[in-house]
Symmetry: C2
Subunit: 293 residues, 2 copies
């Protein structure tokens, strides 16, 4: 069993990006600039945005955080987005979700210029990705693709079972892995809350991607010997055994599933660590105008 | 075994659309207007566009065909598309494919204002459809959905196997049927040229959708007793038995598969007849500004 190590791969990608930024600087080019809009004081969002800033600094990007109180109006946010859309110094930007209830997340997402939509959530980027055109791919599915690619895992003709059909994980990764080329050419089955006989289906998976958000849902009896298992779940569970009073569990019961796998992601330390790296990759692509020219 | 009759359903939908147009007229509203751009003299395209005009007339739409020789430049077509995008009298328009090789079909598709893209091929409409937002859905997947809906076929929790991953059939229908709601909530498996053991997979299908373009590919041994089979293939095969010298065959060996099915589409007379109806539905939605407001 080989661990799909998000830490090693994310460091590796960051080094590569840092080298590219160095080259851009040497050639007198403009350093990539990522802007994050942060509304309110949600703890998770604060941590995530702080990590983004740190990662930007590591690779040599310029990074800006625009903060708004959670009383900010939708109109004000749309106005700020419009400024960013038209600011040539900004290569890409994201609006950290969730947003307060009085603001439509969909309207905000659609207001972002697709050319600067480095989160890849604008429907134009989703559509382009779905039909195999160049597009910003959102962080989690891109992270999965990166892991498969870096570990040179064979995908062509493999049966990939995806548990979960969310717009941020299950649906995009199932579309990506059934596209032509590598990593892709999988036969893909998408399962969800309405699926009957999930264990029967997962046992046929050569590659099993789990994004249900249910701690330790996948048990050993649900996995084929030699399967590749990618666990996207991050569930915060109360624990007496830790100082903090809680621990992080994946959607896969790691201890019993791992021995059956050819490859498996740990949680934490797997796909999660690659999401910020994917954002950096997209920002670099935006700065180089790789997607939209 | 019940035949999913494209002729009956398409007539039914046309009657409903015609009634809506009557109501619009009575209220002094503007009659929906569909424009088709036809380049060159491809026989299939001529027939298809002629059928569209006929169907428009049947339901009371205004219909216009803009013809160009196959020497037309891409720039000229883009110019005409821009005129249509900005012409308030035109509710929706399509550019009949295929186009001559010197014209980029992708560039043409992306030049169409998504609000008037009644063929549903613009990546923005694909993306919106993929994540379950209101969108123009392209003709063939919409026709399949219409058949399932009109025959009240249960889809929730059913295993739907889609043979084919094209951007015009396999991929959109697999996304639609795995969305929440009806018709949807299927567990969906997408198979294609790289899939191993296709017969083994198709035998597990409650709903089998075949869009491979290979005459009589699906045989009785590949189908589960009681399955719903939807055949999207239309293959023109040489035949000594017909006056014309050719006959139309589906991707399914109808005579031997049909007795095993709960429902099956004939070819011709199945999904194919619903494609023009889907275009009419989208044009009506465009006129009523149902998708983009």
């Amino acid at each position: 069993m080989i661990l799909l190590d998000g830490k090693i791969i994310s460091e590796q990608v960051k080094v590569e990006i840092a080298q590219e930024v160095e080259n851009i600087k040497k050639q007198g080019g403009k350093v990539p600039h990522l802007v994050a809009i942060l509304v309110g004081h949600d703890g998770g969002s604060e941590t995530y945005v702080a990590n983004k800033e740190k990662s930007c600094t590591q690779v040599g990007f310029k990074s800006t955080v625009l903060r708004f109180e959670d009383t900010v109006t939708e109109a004000k946010l749309l106005y700020e987005i419009n400024l960013l859309n038209n600011n040539p110094d900004v290569d890409g930007f994201i609006v950290q979700m969730p947003l307060p209830k009085h603001i439509s997340e969909q309207k905000i997402t659609e207001a972002i210029d697709p050319k600067k939509d480095v989160d890849g959530f604008h429907p134009l980027n989703v559509g382009r990705m779905t039909i195999g055109m160049p597009a910003y791919i959102s962080a989690t599915p891109d992270g999965i693709i990166e892991l498969l690619r870096r570990y040179k895992i064979e995908t062509s003709g493999k049966h990939c079972v995806v548990l979960g059909r969310s717009n941020i994980v299950g649906r995009p990764i199932s579309n990506l892995l059934s596209l032509k080329g590598y990593p892709g050419d999988c036969t893909v089955t998408v399962c969800h809350s309405r699926t009957k006989n999930i264990p029967e289906i997962t046992r046929t998976a050569d590659i099993l991607i789990v994004a249900l958000g249910q701690a330790e849902y996948v048990t050993a009896d649900m996995v084929k010997e030699g399967a590749v298992v990618i666990d996207v779940g991050i569930n915060r569970i109360k624990s007496d055994a830790t100082k903090s009073g809680w621990k992080l569990l994946g959607d896969v019961k790691f201890d019993e599933v791992a021995p059956k796998c050819s490859y498996i992601t740990p949680v934490p330390g797997g796909v999660g660590l690659l999401t910020i790296v994917s954002l950096l990759k997209n920002t670099l692509k935006a700065a180089k105008k790789e997607i939209y020219g």
